[in-house]
Amino acid sequence: MLGKYQGSGRSGAFDWYFQRISGIALVIGLFAHFVVLHFLTDPPLTYAKVMARLSSPIWKTFDIAFLIFAVYHALNGFKMIIDDYVHAPTLRSLLDRNVVGGSHCFLCYGIFNHC
């Protein structure tokens, strides 16, 4: 009953589509992230070097967008795994709702670190 109308009861079309969109965004973003941090920044990575980059609004926008895509992609992946293996509707709905709620908390936590 619960599972039919909530959580995994949605069609999931948006989740499927946006998993691909965020995936492509992450491939591009992660490549930039990796090259900048490991090839273009002299090791070791320190507070001063990270703060110098974070003071630029462009980098901050990039980082927050990257974070949103990463959290969405990861938590939606967990949701897909739950939907694959948990078939009891109430438990599935409960777990899915926890994943959705958890991802919002997690996202706020991540964005808070940029402020």
Binding site: H38, L45, T46, F78, N113
Partner: protein, 129 residues
């Protein structure tokens, strides 16, 4: 009593596409867990210079650099295989004559990317900071 509508297949044949799927799922879970760890480590930047540099000192040890090589491989595989899935959906990689080749190419490319990505970590282990 639970009615069995159909008997599920007990085992699937381990063809390359299935191995690619298993690896994609396993690396996905690992990356999701890593994302939690990563955001927790980086959140120290909101707590000031001392806090951040002390946590970075832990992460800059040779042991973590070796783990990072595994991380690069995990990310590289998940990214390349994700692109393969994308081109199955929107390109022609589902074609019978291309599917298996594309899967092998995915494995090969991710190994190459892992080796390239490991360069900064190996340098850090060998020469320190």
């Amino acid at each position: 009593m639970k009615k069995v509508v159909f008997q599920p297949k007990v085992r699937y044949r381990l063809h390359p596409g299935y191995i690619a799927w298993i690896l994609h799922r396993v690396t996905g879970v690992l990356l999701g867990l890593y994302l939690f760890l990563h955001i927790w480590v980086i959140h120290h930047i909101a707590q000031g210079e001392e806090s951040f540099n002390s946590v970075m000192a832990v992460v800059n040890s040779p042991f973590f650099h070796l783990l990072e090589i595994g991380l690069v491989g995990t990310v590289a595989y998940h990214a390349v295989n994700g692109l393969r899935v994308f081109f199955i959906d929107y390109g022609n990689l589902a074609r019978r004559d291309l599917f298996r080749k594309a899967t092998y190419v995915t494995f090969a490319v991710s190994i190459v990317l892992m080796v390239i990505g490991a360069i900064p970590m190996v340098k850090a282990v060998l020469f320190g900071h």
